[in-house]
Amino acid sequence: MTTLTGLGLLDGGEGDPKVVALPRRPIRREPLDADGVAMLGTWVALAPIAMLFLAFVSAFIVRRGLGEGWTAIRLPALVWVNTAVLLTSSFTLELARHASRRGGKDAGWMGRTLLLGGMFLAGQTVAWKMLFGAGVSLGLTPYGSFFYLLTGCHAVHLAGGLLALAAAALWPRDGTRKLSRHGAIRVCAIYWHFMTIVWVGILSLLMIGR
């Protein structure tokens, strides 16, 4: 136990009874509360996600520039349906966020967003199955490889977002957590809308780069 004290891993600075008296002011409200810090963290987190997709996009551009065997594949129409679903989910999430502002009823809109998000992921899975079934393997053409790569990476991120949405939907309203329910929903919204924008970007790239 003494060792662990010495290692400073037990709470309380019992090692040294002499505490230098510092002129300190009592607690005051910090400039950013828990909601603010969570939002800051979420905004900052968008940067590395953007860099990851940018890395893939630059690989796409380089490979397309080389030409050889590029052959675009025809995307299943389902992909467009899924896109509409995702765009709608951003819309419903916005409604949820607005509703939660004054502690209002957001559960319905949150539920709809979750449903739409789940539908998007399910729809993407079906679209991949359709393509695999049609013989488009991962390595058939480089365009195809990038399609799977970009949509797959997006889906993984969105799945994470879906989990966060579920957690936010279940968030307590009574202030027992540091982060407020409204704050949790706002954080999800920043991330989710970003992933929608990324999706639009991916689709645009896939269309322009045919």
Partner: protein
């Protein structure tokens, strides 16, 4: 001078955790996490050092047999002879382990986590749970890397840079390029994720959780350094992660991102089409160059702080130092092509990269001037942390100046892929950055563990190591001048290298000597943990916030109250002040100087 006597419970009431698992294993306390990172780095550095000694043994005595080692490594050293695959796997794993699990772990994950929140007056990082996850993800990456030694085929042998197509082709390209390489990629991917989580914390904490009075321009240079390193990490690691994903897809998904058509390897045609070999290098080095600044910038921050503390003088040119850190970090994103002059990329692009590369010398020179400027007119106390900080300056000059050779396209025609490069990056990373870690260790050990390390042992450790590292790496530059290529298992057959080969002996002996000297550090470290003299709050008479709290700090760093900052970070020798240092939290009347 009014002392607040109100004792209010903290706004973010988090009681200390209960239970062994939550206190020491899955702790969310940035201090525990910092120590966990540090110990991970300590284990890694000794593993990496062991590997380097095997490498050196082979290079100095290529024809010798080592029966004892043959018993320890029956596969890699059958009959006591180091095989080429074992050698190359040592080279690869040594580099990977050192760059990631030592140089990117100890300065940022270790010291950054422990010290940053305290230095800005915060109770913990912004996202403690995320912090805990980031350590354990790093640990998982470490396990994946070590596992590569034990799978069939063994550890990969493509160098820490893992160039495609050698790394994309699988086992046909050589032993260790099968499962071993997959684990290597997994390890790096986990490391990328962990670093991103950590960097997020550093950024949010620095921006949002500074105590009252701790303006940005009153932050110690260590905080600026960790902050900038976090920004670099956020922008660079995702690109490595992306590259790793693409590589894995080429290896097991049948894609051809990096593998062109028409390859025939060991007589077998390869079924890949149209990939770009150089694309891997672009993605890797876009990360790889900022990575080396990630490795050194925290050390520069620590050295600035330590030099100032033991010179009893403010840092010379604080603002310029901050701007220089930004410049180095920012410019670092635009020079990655200097690793690729010979790669086949456009020679015009090469010229552009070369010109940009040489501009990084300017902020680096500014920092060196300012370190020297901090010493000018000083009152130097030669404690062990100070010795390592001074050693850092010497090494930074040596290592940095050799970069000027490598950054010129014409000269890189000669030096690319020779030992000059190996000498250069070891001098600046494998030594200067390590000296930053040593300086930080000796400096903050009393704070972290409440005990002093032994000064006598520390000084001897410094002397032997300082001399030893020069003895190892300067001759390596000579090998490069002679044109000795890198990653060679044996160079004794080449006529043009005849005179240079004697240098291998010098380097190997110096390496063993220096490695042995590190035992002094280990003994000092662990003995002091248990038996070191008790340290007070501020044994070094330093000024930043961590020295205003007990050693070791209480669970929530500052207790129930919050610090208020009235002074800049390096107010030493203020005329008119009672002592030769004014702490940041001293009342405003304590100094009549600036800030």
């Amino acid at each position: 001078m009014s002392v607040a006597t109100q004792q209010k419970p903290p706004a973010h009431g988090h009681a200390p955790p209960e239970g062994f698992l939550w206190k020491y294993v899955f702790s969310k306390d940035h201090k525990v996490i910092g120590i966990q990172y540090y110990f991970l780095a300590l284990v890694s550095v000794f593993m990496g050092m062991g590997m380097s000694l095997l490498i050196r043994l082979q290079l100095a005595y290529p024809d010798r047999m080592w029966p004892l080692l043959g018993k320890i490594f029956p596969k890699g050293m059958a009959d006591g002879v180091l095989s080429p695959e074992f050698y190359l796997s040592m080279v690869t794993m040594h580099g990977t382990m050192m760059v990631f699990f030592v140089l990117t772990t100890a300065p940022q994950g270790g010291f950054g986590n422990y010290i940053l929140p305290i230095q800005i007056g915060a109770r913990d990082m912004a996202f403690p749970t995320l912090n805990m996850l980031s350590f354990w993800t790093t640990f998982a990456g470490f396990c994946a890397l070590v596992a590569a030694f034990f799978v069939q085929g063994g550890a990969p042998l493509g160098g820490w840079t893992g160039y495609a197509p050698l790394s994309a082709l699988g086992e046909i390209a050589g032993p260790g390029q099968g499962m071993g390489l997959n684990l290597w990629i997994l390890s790096i991917a986990l490391f990328c994720l962990a670093s991103l989580l950590g960097a997020l914390n550093f950024l949010a904490t620095t921006l949002a959780m500074r105590a009252e009075g701790m303006s940005l321009m009153r932050m110690p240079l260590t905080v600026w350094a960790w902050f900038t390193t976090a920004v670099l990490s956020l922008l660079a690691f995702p690109v490595l992660l992306g590259g790793g994903v693409l590589l894995l897809m080429d290896r097991i998904g049948g894609t051809s991102f990096f593998v062109p058509s028409g390859l025939v390897v060991a007589g077998q045609p390869i079924d890949h089409h149209g990939g770009s070999v150089i694309l891997w290098q672009h993605l890797f080095w876009f990360f790889g160059h900022p990575e080396v600044y990630i490795a050194i910038i925290p050390g520069m921050g620590a050295v600035s702080t330590i030099l100032s503390t033991f010179a009893r003088k403010p840092v010379f040119g604080y603002k310029a130092m901050v701007l220089a850190i930004f410049a180095i970090g920012g410019l670092g994103f635009f020079v990655w092509g200097h690793h690729m002059f010979i790669s086949g990329m456009s020679p015009y692009t090469a010229v552009a990269f070369s010109l940009l590369t040489l501009t990084i010398g300017v902020p680096s020179a500014v920092k060196t001037f300012n370190w020297l400027g901090t010493l000018w007119g000083a009152k130097i106390r030669f404690t062990t942390p100070m010795l390592f900080a001074l050693g850092f300056v010497s090494l930074f000059v040596t290592g940095g100046l050799t970069g000027i050779f490598l950054g010129q396209t014409s000269i890189d025609l000669w030096f690319h892929d020779t030992y000059f490069v190996v000498g250069h990056f070891h001098m600046i990373m494998g030594v200067a950055a390590i000296f930053g870690i040593f300086a930080a260790t000796y400096f903050w050990f009393p704070k972290m563990f409440g005990r002093l390390m032994n000064e006598g042992l520390g000084k001897i450790h410094f002397m032997l190591t300082f001399i030893g590292v020069y003895a190892i790496f300067v001759p390596m530059h000579a090998l490069g001048l002679a044109g000795h290529p890198r990653r060679y298992y044996d160079s004794s057959t080449y006529e043009y290298l005849r005179s240079a080969n004697s240098l291998h002996m010098v380097i190997t002996w110096a390496a063993f000597f220096t490695a042995a000297a590190q035992l002094l550090f280990l003994v000092n470290f662990f003995w002091s943990l248990w038996k070191g003299k008790r340290a007070g709050d501020n044994p070094w008479e330093a000024t930043t916030l961590e020295w205003s709290i007990p050693s070791p700090p209480p669970f929530d760093n500052f207790g129930a109250l919050e610090p208020v900052v009235h002074h800049g970070p390096f107010e030493f020798s203020v005329p008119g002040a009672a002592k030769d240092f004014v702490m940041q939290t001293d009342p405003p009347s304590a100094a009549t100087g600036k800030h």
